[in-house]
């Protein structure tokens, strides 16, 4: 088995890259939120904080994520990353709630 997992479909790589794309989307969204600071005021900082924190959380877990999925391919069973799915979705839902509050309050 060459390399860390030997999967010809490169599933661990593709999954880690998908997380990386999501991280970049969160960074972009947080930058856009900052751009709206003059229009919407300080509450926007909360939206920035949520999206930036989610992006940072993905960044610091990427190595561990790749290792876990490569090991999962080797062992033919991967531990479904329930907590990462829940906090990512939770961050997006929080951004929606905060965004609606900001829009209705302005």
């Amino acid at each position: 088995m060459p390399g860390p997992h030997g999967d010809p479909g490169l599933q661990p790589e593709r999954t880690t890259l998908a997380w990386g794309r999501t991280m970049m989307a969160l960074v972009t969204v947080s930058a856009i939120f900052l751009r709206w600071l003059p229009h919407h005021g300080l509450p926007i900082l909360l939206l920035f904080a949520v999206s930036a924190a989610a992006a940072g959380a993905i960044y610091v877990t990427q190595r561990r994520r790749y290792r876990a999925s490569a090991r999962g391919i080797r062992q033919e069973a991967v531990d479904a990353d329930t907590s990462a799915v829940l906090w990512t979705a939770g961050a997006a839902v929080a951004l929606g709630v905060l965004g609606i509050v900001v829009v209705l309050a302005s």
Partner: protein
Amino acid sequence: MSTNQPPSADPAPPHRGKIAERLLPGGTEPDPRFTLANERTFLAWIRTSLALLAGGIAIEAFTADLFLEPVRKILAVLLLLLGMLLSGGAAVRWIRVERSMRNKTPLPLPLIVPLLAGAGALAAAVVLIFILWR
């Protein structure tokens, strides 16, 4: 897919987290490739919802001289609400797909697909009505 062991044998799954044990009980460990594919699909939905969230705030902030105040707010809230429902729905769908893969049952129909399509059409209709009445 690759279960060569007899069904009675414990496949010795990797250490499962507490939340995984609670939300994804029973069944057998699915092909790890399917689990990773499910995760990537979830992330694609999250990126879609992030685009909608950014769009919602953008409409509110930057189209003041284009749309009337109520139209602007309706569109912004619609987009934000859709982004919120899609990200929540993506997590629910991820759990449902993971469960059906563990129990080897047919995959559930994605409710978030008609939600996105319907809300997209609704947003287009709001803009269309606004343009026609202007």
